[in-house]
């Protein structure tokens, strides 16, 4: 049996100060916790179905079943219209799993350990969110890759396409805090999915993801107008197939900031209350 000795260099003077200051510590802890989430993702690749297979199925479904009817029989025209919208919807849905995983972690008691350690309250949540970047990037790569095989073509250029992907991921990182918050307040991970679908389906169908919104009745157009998915879809569409970008881009960025301002504190509060 090895003997363990108390570390003589740890004194009360330096034990209370995080190494390199509070902000550096938060960054370090979040990275360590993000790596934990990534290891979990790699160990359970089946958990990536919602960001790989699912968007592909949506793409096939809507292009081949509705595409003919919706765009005057020209599926290629519809695919060009649909893909940027579906990208936005997939990013919104990509965050659902995050809330579910966090809910499961809390139920299992893994978070009790983190809460008994001297890390900032936000670190476990920020780490999990940061690790989700990989999933959002996967969605973008899969959709653009598979879309290209189906005949989708970027009509603008390389840089606008990169900007579209960056914006989509950024939106995903903001929107997912709703899922984090829901994960903190509902009891089971199944309920997280239920609540999030209830939120996301009206948002994605009541937007220009699938059809031009001028075909909708007036009251629905009013909803489309205040829907955060709308400016996101319009911006991504502009960046991928051309069209006005500046105005929807600012609206999207404003929405992202708004989501963060509202849901990060809500999620944090719910997290600290959850015993």
């Amino acid at each position: 049996m090895t003997t363990l000795t108390i570390n003589p260099t740890t004194t009360d003077l330096d034990i209370d100060r995080p190494r390199g200051g509070a902000f550096a510590a938060l960054a370090r802890h979040s990275v360590a916790l993000a790596r934990r989430s990534l290891i979990k993702t790699i160990r359970t690749p089946e958990a990536l179905i919602d960001v790989t297979l699912q968007p592909v199925i949506f793409l096939l479904l809507f292009t081949f079943i509705f595409g003919g009817a919706l765009a005057g029989g020209d599926r290629h025209v519809y695919l060009q219209f649909l893909l940027p919208g579906l990208l936005a919807q997939s990013l919104a849905m990509g965050g659902i799993a995050l809330g579910q995983n966090l809910n499961a972690d809390i139920e299992k008691g893994v978070f009790d350990r983190f809460r008994s350690l001297p890390v900032a309250r936000i670190a476990p949540l920020a780490g999990a969110v940061a690790a989700d970047i990989v999933r959002y990037l996967t969605v973008c790569v899969v959709m653009l890759g598979f879309g290209t095989i189906m005949g989708f073509r970027v009509e603008t250029g390389f840089l606008p396409a990169v900007a579209a992907v960056a914006l989509a991921i950024g939106f995903g990182l903001s929107f997912c805090w709703i899922s984090v918050w829901v994960g903190m307040i509902v009891r089971t991970s199944g309920a997280v999915q239920g609540v999030m679908f209830l939120l996301i389906f009206p948002l994605s169908f009541g937007s220009p993801v699938f059809v031009q919104s001028d075909t909708l009745p007036g009251w629905l157009q009013a909803f489309v107008h205040v829907n955060p998915i709308t400016p996101l879809v319009n911006t991504i569409r502009g960046l991928l197939i051309g069209g006005p970008v500046a105005s929807p881009l600012w609206q999207t960025l404003a929405w992202m900031a708004g989501l963060l301002v509202v849901f990060v504190p809500l999620a944090l509060r719910a997290y600290s209350r959850r015993a």
Binding site: T2, I6, D16, R28, K40, G109
Partner: protein
């Protein structure tokens, strides 16, 4: 004044209709083991969660390592290790990854965290499994990893919430060895348990909690004196020899007690038992029974069960029974 490493006064916590803590006071001296004993739902876990900064009490004051738990939880967190009732290791991470993560969150340098992880894994006999995801571990291995995780930062105060519940007796002994080693190295350990035997084996002092209240705070010996302590139990092969067995037991009984007068003694179901002070009573009883020619089918020392402890502690004010309750079956 003695050096108290855990001190709590008047802790109250209510969950809905349940008053989980109803004015709990606790005191643990530095370098000792405090056993918190109580049945399920007594409030043990709630008390530990308050002390380990996971839960804010509705009322009361608590300090750990001289630091106010409510005002400076982060400073407390740098000095404690917690192992909860359910193994809270991360199943997808390997043993090493679990421990290194804790080390990183404790602001250790990566190389130190890795060294410490390897050291603990070896100590807990998990070196071979170090590279496997924890979901492949057996229940006992997970418990050990969980305990190792709470020791990564060489904490001053260690909280163990029912560390041996669900472990087989051999694993339980191992766990006891770990606790003793930690104390020998200068840590203080607060552990909750449902087993009087465990509290007796490890604790310097025992707090008995029931329904959110402390109903006793004593050394194990003091507690045993109050609840009857060890009993020696004999079951003669021939029930007709009970009176002879009783006579022998009276000779080895603790001073001031005897089988015929002590409330905790008497005969039940063809056996007799008496309170004894030490286990040497067993050495005296066996030859005496032989000399008296009493054959036995059962002869043993018993600690009172938790039920008996509660019965004794909650009925201390009751009039002691003096009549012998020897029923011959």
């Amino acid at each position: 004044m003695t050096d108290l490493v855990v001190r709590a006064e008047g802790l109250r916590k209510r969950f809905g209709k349940t008053q989980a803590l109803d004015g709990v006071d606790l005191a643990m001296r530095r370098g000792t083991v405090l056993g918190v004993l109580g049945p399920n739902g007594a409030g043990k876990t709630t008390a530990v969660r308050v002390l380990a900064t996971l839960l804010r009490p509705d009322e009361g004051y608590a300090e750990v390592a001289g630091i106010d738990v409510l005002k400076q939880p982060q400073r407390v967190r740098r000095r404690i290790g917690l192992t909860g009732q359910y193994a809270s290791v991360d199943e997808d991470l390997t043993g090493t990854q679990n421990l290194v993560l804790i080390g990183q969150l404790l602001d250790m340098h990566s190389s130190d965290a890795k060294k410490r992880a390897a050291e603990l894994l070896e100590w807990f006999d998990l070196s071979e499994a170090a590279g496997r995801p924890a979901k492949t571990y057996s229940g006992g291995m997970r418990r050990r990893l969980d305990l190792a995780a709470s020791l990564v930062g060489r904490p001053e105060v260690i909280f163990l919430d029912e560390p041996t519940t669900g472990l087989d007796p051999a694993k339980r002994e191992d766990m006891w060895g770990v606790v003793r080693t930690q104390v020998a190295q200068g840590s203080s350990v607060l552990l909750t348990t449902q087993y009087l035997e465990e509290a007796d084996a490890l604790a310097d002092e025992i707090v008995v909690i029931n329904k959110g209240r402390v109903i006793a705070f004593d050394t194990p010996d003091g507690l045993k004196r109050r609840v009857g302590g060890l009993t020696l139990r004999v079951r003669p092969a021939d029930p007709a020899r009970l009176p002879d067995a009783l006579r022998v037991l009276d000779m080895v009984a603790a001073p001031g007690t005897n089988a015929s007068a002590d409330t905790a003694a008497g005969a039940r179901g063809g056996a007799v038992s008496v309170p004894v002070t030490t286990d040497t009573a067993l050495d005296e009883a066996l030859p005496a029974l032989r000399r008296a020619g009493v054959e036995v089918t059962e002869l043993g020392l018993h600690l009172p069960s938790l039920d008996e402890v509660f019965h004794a502690l909650t009925s201390e004010d009751a009039v002691p029974q003096t009549s012998k309750e020897a029923e011959l079956v």
